[in-house]
């Protein structure tokens, strides 16, 4: 551990308060909130890809936005390169943003339809230039004041010069530089987003994220709106870029196959908490947590022999408002015992699988259960799915 991790998150929480109804207010009940992220601890090294998988309501998108400081944490520490960034604001925050950029899920909504490509992709460059100038101006003002107060005889300190304004041509040049890295031709600078296909738009979003040379990019469902044929192209490009530039990715998705390909490590989230984290090969081939097993078993596979399988995990994802005490997966878990309903397990190491952290009381006992056992091979008639007791 020579250098601090790129991103470190300790007991991070993000709660969105709900407005109280009149009756709740009158009854004096405390304000309820959505516990989108409820005590997450994680770290990422430079140049690695961490996959964050989970379903809707897992909090993975909120966690991604927190890491990019698009939200302010309600509790917990958020550190980048060792420094606390959870409390940054104003110009400092804007300046810091060049380190972590985001590619959003919706290829259509992510790009301003009224702006041309060079304006969209070049926007971060201009914004960061503005921020730099703001900081420089402040410094110069400060120095000027100091100079005015200096005692006689002492030489004045030199003011750092203001760089020339970043003009159109400079921005366009930067955009022209970055486009080939995402696989677009340089002559599309003056086109509009709607002239591109879904895959093309995702490339534009990626170009916009990469143009300020961030150390990390948060990718929020980058392939969900794309066809299978195009997904491969984008994922290939992401991996190549990482090999070339050493950039880190936080890949947020429900698409297990994308994570399998791109990620080095993967974290599985359920209802605002991480239930399992480890190297991608270990977690996906030998999942320990029951939810991870369920998730992997549920993914449809293009194999006709799966037609006889029946998925046996019932129940819906419960609400994020005032989550239950105890393990959050317990209501649906086929292996749940009383202890699971009372006590919320925390992430811990499991003997025999040192690289994986699992939040399950019965991890040692259930680790050998293969995901396939959550699927029934024989069709059953008429009975509701019965939970297995292992």
């Amino acid at each position: 551990m020579s250098s601090p991790p790129l991103i470190e998150v300790v007991d991070l929480e993000k709660h969105f308060p709900l407005t109280r109804t009149a009756t709740e207010y009158l009854q004096g009940r405390p304000r309820r909130s959505i516990h989108a992220v409820d005590g997450v601890s994680l770290s990422m090294r430079a140049g690695e890809t961490l996959g964050l998988i989970g379903e809707s309501g897992s909090g993975k998108t909120t966690l991604g936005w927190l890491v990019a400081r698009l939200h302010e944490p309600t509790a917990g520490a958020l550190r980048f390169g060792g420094a606390e960034v959870g409390t940054l604001e104003g110009t400092e925050l804007r300046h810091w943003r060049r380190n972590v950029q985001v590619v959003f899920q919706d290829p259509v909504g992510s790009l301003d339809p009224r702006l041309k490509v060079w304006q969209i992709v070049g926007e971060p460059v201009r914004a960061q230039d503005q921020t730099d100038r703001q900081i420089l101006r402040r410094e110069r003002r400060h120095l000027r004041r100091e100079n005015a107060r200096r005692p006689k005889g002492e030489p004045a300190r030199l003011l750092p010069p203001m760089p020339p304004r970043l003009n159109r041509a400079a921005v366009r040049a930067r955009v022209r530089e970055i486009l080939p890295t995402v696989g677009l031709l340089e002559d599309c600078l003056d086109q509009y987003p709607h002239e591109f296909s879904g895959g093309g738009r995702q490339r534009l979003s990626l170009a916009r994220a990469l143009i300020v040379r961030p150390k990390m990019v948060v990718l929020d469902e980058p392939t969900s709106a794309l066809d299978v044929a195009v997904q491969g192209q984008i994922l290939n490009r992401l991996v190549e870029l990482q090999r070339e530039t050493g950039i880190a990715y936080l890949l947020i998705t429900h698409n297990v196959a994308a994570v399998r390909y791109v990620a080095d490590r993967v974290a599985v989230m359920y209802l605002g908490q991480i239930v399992e984290v480890g190297p991608v090969h270990d977690v996906l081939e030998r999942p320990i947590h029951p939810y991870t097993k369920a998730l992997l078993a549920a993914v449809p596979v293009a194999d006709a022999r799966r037609r006889r399988s029946r998925f046996r995990i019932g129940g819906d994802v419960p609400s994020l408002i005032d989550p239950p005490s105890g393990c959050r997966f317990a209501p649906r878990c086929p292996f749940a015992v009383d202890r699971c309903r009372d006590e919320n397990p925390s992430l811990r190491e499991i003997p025999g699988a040192p690289a994986q952290l699992v939040a399950c009381h019965r991890a040692e006992e259930v680790r050998a259960v293969a995901p396939a056992s959550l699927l029934e091979a024989v069709p059953q008639r008429g009975d509701a799915p019965a939970p297995a007791t292992s």
């Binding site: 379903e55 299978v228 491969g232 791109v262 993914v299 449809p300 006709a304 995990i313 008429g382």
Partner: protein, 380 residues
């Protein structure tokens, strides 16, 4: 001689937008045999949803226009039937479930009201068709099993014994028998404690529940053909698995023919008996599911199967299909896939492969719309 729920012959559908015509569906022919599940798979823009919505004539006909072809259902050509006659055929004839149930369930009505509407429609139909005279039906006994057999529930006439047609039409929606029917249908789709959701609005239900309600509504009229247009694409992975399991169970019990549309090869592999692959508005391959997935005979199908990522970074780059979907206002000449095909030949550029036609026989043979289908096997 196969019995078909619906038979589509040479169907072509265009969208007229502004100054252009998009050829959304071009000369597609396929049959859905009775009691079987036929899957249609393809990427965005291949025309599968257009095809699905055209069968019950649900496409908005001003921008869409059915150029040629026939849709044979119960001996009638649905293309020729005037639109005002179609509602009679929907419901018990052709029923449909959609991708986003928030859009297809009326958000202004509670679950109970929507289901009871379906039940009452069926009652009316059965009341009109029934021979006069009372008929005994045994009361349902919940003590024996928690989930009623689907066949029993669906084939039992919903009109209570002893009531005349006129009296049944006056039945208010709060009638206890109707309520029991509705609860039965909800139990059928594996919703435990259905009483709790009767009074909820669609937006208050989770996605999986909404989809189950949709399936309940669709099946409650015991349709001859059920069209499922991406029914699980909007659902989370585990919920999708639950709903697919439910549908598999119901398919076993209820002998409805199903046309299942999806872009997800895995889902199609799990659900369908026979699969058709569509590309750029054409049907490029059709065959039994196991054969099609194990030994595809069209380069597009093969490329699609290979493009589904199943490997780790360390195993090398992912396969993808070069190029992108053609503009359907000006599709390529000849074979529409030839610009992206790994084995293009000069003839492919000029001469379109003949459109697939169903043939007689106990099971559809594996057909491919490619001049060089036999070479596809040797592609890596």
């Amino acid at each position: 001689m196969m019995d078909f729920a619906v038979s589509i012959e040479g169907l072509s559908i265009d969208y007229v937008v502004g100054a252009g015509r998009f050829h959304a569906v071009s000369d597609v022919s396929l049959d859905v045999p009775t009691g079987r599940v036929v899957g249609i798979v393809g990427e965005t823009g291949c025309g599968k949803s257009t095809l699905a919505q055209a069968i019950p004539r649900l496409l908005p006909e001003p921008p869409a226009s059915i150029g040629s072809g026939r849709i044979i259902f119960r001996g009638m050509d649905l293309v020729k039937i005037p639109l005002w006659k179609m509602p009679a055929l929907r419901g018990t004839g052709i029923s449909m479930i959609f991708q986003e149930p928030l859009n297809s369930l009326n958000p202004a009505f509670r679950v109970y009201d929507q289901l009871v509407e379906a039940v009452r429609m069926r009652r009316r139909r059965e009341a009109g068709e029934r021979v006069a005279g009372p008929r005994e039906s045994p009361p349902f006994d919940y003590s024996r099993r928690p989930v009623p057999g689907a066949v029993e529930v669906l084939s039992r006439p919903v009109a209570p014994g002893g009531a005349t047609a006129a009296a049944m039409r006056k039945t208010s929606s709060r009638h206890p028998e109707l309520r029991e029917e509705v609860l039965d249908f909800l139990r059928l789709v594996r919703i435990s404690d259905p009483e709790t959701i009767l009074d909820l609005y669609p937006h208050e239900l989770s996605g999986g529940m909404r989809q189950r309600v949709m399936i309940a509504m669709a099946l409650s009229e015991k349709p001859a053909l059920l069209i499922a247009d991406e029914p699980t694409s909007a659902l989370d992975v585990t919920i999708q698995a639950q709903v697919l399991t439910l549908m598999k169970d119901l398919i076993e019990e209820v002998q409805t023919s199903i046309l299942f549309i999806s872009h997800d090869l895995g889902v199609i592999a799990e659900m369908a008996d026979e699969v058709g692959v569509m590309y750029a508005g054409r049907l490029v391959e059709f065959g039994p599911v196991t054969e099609l997935f194990d030994a595809p005979r069209h380069p597009y199908t093969k490329a699609l199967l290979r493009a589904s990522p199943t490997r780790y970074k360390s195993d090398g780059p992912l396969a993808s299909i070069a190029g992108s979907v053609p503009n359907l206002a000006h599709p390529p000449d000849g074979c529409r896939f030839h610009p992206r095909c790994p084995i293009p030949r000069p003839v492919c550029r000029v001469d379109p492969p003949p459109p697939l036609r169903p043939t007689d026989g106990p099971a559809s043979p594996h057909r491919s719309a490619c001049h060089f289908a036999q070479e596809v096997e040797s592609l890596p």
